[in-house]
Amino acid sequence: MTTAHIPSAEKLRASAHEDANRCVQCGYCLPVCPTYASMGKETASPRGRINLVKLAAEGKIDILEHMAGPLDLCLGCRACEVACPVGVPYGRLLESAKEAIADEIRRKSESGEPDRPSGSAGSLKEGLKRAALEHLFPHPGRLRLAGSLLRLYQKSGAARLARASGVIRRISPAMAAFEQVLPEAESPRTRPKAGARYPAVGEKKATVAFFSGCLMDAMMHRVNRLSVELLRLAGCEVVIPEHQKCCGALHAHQGDMETARKLAGANIAAFEATGADWYVNNAGGCGAMLQEYALLFKGDAAMEERAAAFAAKSRDISWVLHRLGPLPFKKEWKVTITYQDSCHLRNVQKVHEEPRALIRSIPGAAYAECEGAETCCASGGIYNLLHFEESMRILDDKMLKVKDTNASVLVTANPGCLLQMKLGIKRSGLGGRMRAVHLVEALAEACGIE
């Protein structure tokens, strides 16, 4: 078979072949890959996937028929990148592959060819994904509206009605599962306001610009509000930059690089205008994206430089609180706490000691490390919605180990992971004795902030 004339394959060759060729197939990535463990075949391993990208770029296999399936099933946790002895840039490779898949679907639909063989990702799923990516996430206003609607839905009794009737389950079992664990939305009045400036409590040590995020801002703005409070307690003056947008990670991970670039450009401009010392975020996934903005602007030297400067200032909140701490804890909190790493915080931002150190610093609390805390919970952005069963298999395995910690508080550092862990607790029947919270919520509770 030769597909050399197909532009998507040629583009993939240009964007990914060199990266894929760096793999020496040593297999050191195998033990750290969650899908290799759960799916049990080389095709679902990093070494296998890198090889498939290489073969597709060489035109030996078809992008959609052979490469897309195994690449779609990758969680993108990037643990393989840390394990790789030769530094294959797997994240970049994965995004090139996702872009090639998106290009190829577009090309086939424009030329009227059927895009995928039957049995692969359904068109309803593709449609929903595209609609959310194009029409919801890039628009903070629409997302906030969705968040307010969520509150209305939860408060009005519609939620109870919907659950009782099973209507959501009939549309999508995955959405039904997550609907039940969505956090209770706060009143929109408490949301940190764009353009606002909050003074430091006590001596001012730094000025930080706060990245609100799209989902965090819309659905979990309580965590944002508490983040601002903690930063202030740690001595930060906190600015909420106006005109900031979604980080673009979801778009980049699904192959829509153009939208990702637009969002990145807007964020860089919005944060540069603040003159802050650090740009602080509280979502491991978003933070990783912010730190890798320079990759989006390859070939545009001026933007690349601005993106690199932006990345250098972008920090996870745990890093800042740990650096400026200690926090003014108000009470003894006699609980056992365990921590589930956010993959992109750990594997991309290399932040894993700081959250643990902060938890250990809570007076009265005991920290219990969970075996395998560093491996992915299979939230994977929206992986758990797109591949519900595959995701739940990995999650259920993880929850067995979480249970062994005997913790009553399970801390995470990313909204996607948080929802996934809430669902994990529910599925494993631990609901009565364990709850999942964001790191910021745990710290705020110990500082006596409601």
Partner: protein, 469 residues
């Protein structure tokens, strides 16, 4: 291609979800950590010795090549399905690992990751010494069939010294046991030894009985560097002849030292020609005395640096330098050809000189590190497989490395195995009659040549490695 009737029979023994026939799946079993890409017709994930027996009977009847595969970390092409046919993915075989403290044994299924044996044995106060550098990935099945050992061969011997019993499915589909649970066993031919290192050409191993030893109570590690390779060689010889048997004795040449420093600075002496890492283990008092003696000998032999680790952290720091060699030199790649020619220990300085000449003659990037204590060197050629002109030179250089090792009374392979990459040189070491005797054993075991065909034995007229398609 596998014909329809044969496929039908295979499908009647193995459930559909464990038969992988999609192109992307087959391609995912087309490689290992060495060279080349060979597309199998089918990948099977067997779960019992009974299933394997049925599969081999079918394969034997229909002459289907069978390629057992663990984690595919082989550096010699062991699991490559060079003639298509059927890959047996043994990495998914049910995991069983029993540590028998009373008899100092471990009973393992082939899919167990070797590092798990290390860990579970240590938890029981025991020790399984063979430790290939990929032991956190590789399966014990792959390790014993390739007889790969790592740095502890000098004091503790190689993998073959630890395998005392096996369960094996023969190419005819019979399930046999060799050896057993006793350390002493002289009942008939030692088939266990024959299977260990046979690279999957004689059958499929389904259970392994390993001998364990008590865990040493203490260990000490030292790093020493020398202005010349010859001096380091003398130091090594002097240490060994003074009655000390180190647990590990590792050597890195200047190119490796520089590569590691460029990759992740560890404070290594970049001006020195050779670096030696020595580890002794045993009774705490003996260990203290021995490491002091090693330090004194190194200094007498002209070492410029002698550093003994005082804490576990410092020990890890020393080993880190050695462990970084492989990634550090691979970054200079992208293609790394890793050899393991081995010579009698006393010939190491000569072998180093010959390697130096080969590097100059072919103008290639050749670096050397390895297990100096047991003469097992790892000459690595760093190249780019897309550079066809250079690859031709590399092919010639590889041949000359083997000739040098054999001329010095050594062997083609200390631990990676022959596979596809060294098969052309078998006669060089074994002679015509020696190689033919091996071929006769292979024919007696596997008359239809279904087990891992294309390995160990050279093809007709093949006298040189082919790295280019």
């Amino acid at each position: 291609m596998i014909d329809q009737t044969a496929f039908g029979e295979i499908a009647s023994v193995i459930p559909r979800e464990r038969l992988l026939i999609r192109l992307e799946d087959r391609y995912s079993y087309s490689y290992d950590a060495s060279f080349g890409e060979y597309l199998p017709d089918l990948v099977v994930q067997p779960q019992t010795a009974g299933e394997i027996s049925a599969l081999l009977k079918i394969a034997n009847q229909y002459r289907i090549p069978v390629y057992p595969r663990g984690s595919a970390t082989s550096l010699s092409g062991g699991p490559l399905p060079v003639e298509g046919g059927m890959v047996l993915d043994m990495s998914r075989y049910p995991r069983k690992l029993v540590i028998d403290r009373e008899n100092l044994l471990a009973v393992a299924s082939p899919s167990v990751i070797t590092a798990d044996i290390h860990r579970e044995a240590e938890e029981a106060g025991l020790f399984y010494p063979p430790d290939p550098s990929s032991s956190h990935v590789s399966t014990i099945g792959g390790n014993i069939l390739e007889n790969s050992s790592g740095p502890k061969g000098l004091k503790y011997g190689t993998t073959k010294e630890y395998v005392i019993g096996l369960e094996l499915v023969t190419p005819q589909g019979e399930i046999i046991r060799t050896g057993g649970k006793t350390v002493k066993n002289v009942t008939g031919y030692d088939l266990t030894r024959l299977i260990v290192g046979s690279e999957g050409t004689l059958g499929v191993v389904t259970e392994i009985i390993l001998r364990l030893i008590p865990k040493p109570k203490a260990r000490k590690t030292m790093l020493a560097s020398f202005p010349s390779v010859v001096q380091s060689g003398h130091a090594i010889t002097k240490i060994l002849s003074s009655g000390i048997l180190p647990a590990a004795l590792e050597l890195m040449d200047n190119a490796c030292i520089r590569a590691v420093e460029a990759y992740q600075p560890c404070g290594l002496p970049v001006e020195d020609a050779a670096l030696v890492i020595i580890e002794v283990d045993g009774h705490p008092a003996a260990v203290e005395e021995e490491i002091a003696d090693c330090g004194r000998i190194c200094a007498e032999m002209g070492a410029t640096t002698v550093r003994t680790a005082r804490t576990e952290g410092e020990r890890q720091e020393i080993w880190k330098a050695r462990k970084l060699v492989s990634p550090a030199i691979t970054r200079m790649g992208p293609t790394k050809i890793s050899e393991d020619a081995t010579v009698p220990r006393s010939r190491i300085p000569e072998m180093m000189e010959r390697l130096e000449r080969i590097r100059a003659k072919y103008n290639i990037n050749l670096v050397v590190f390895g297990h100096a204590g047991d003469g097992n060197l790892h000459p690595n050629i760093i190249t780019d497989k897309r550079n066809i002109e250079e690859m031709r030179r590399v092919e010639d250089a590889v041949g000359e490395i083997f000739e040098a090792a054999v001329a010095l009374g050594g062997t083609l392979s200390g631990e990676h195995g022959i596979g596809t990459l060294k098969a052309p040189y078998m006669e060089l070491e074994l002679g015509k009659a020696g190689l033919d005797m091996m071929a006769r054993i292979k024919r007696a075991w596997d008359p239809n040549n279904i087990m891992n065909p294309g390995k160990i034995f050279p093809g007709p007229g093949q006298t040189k490695v082919k790295l280019l398609p």
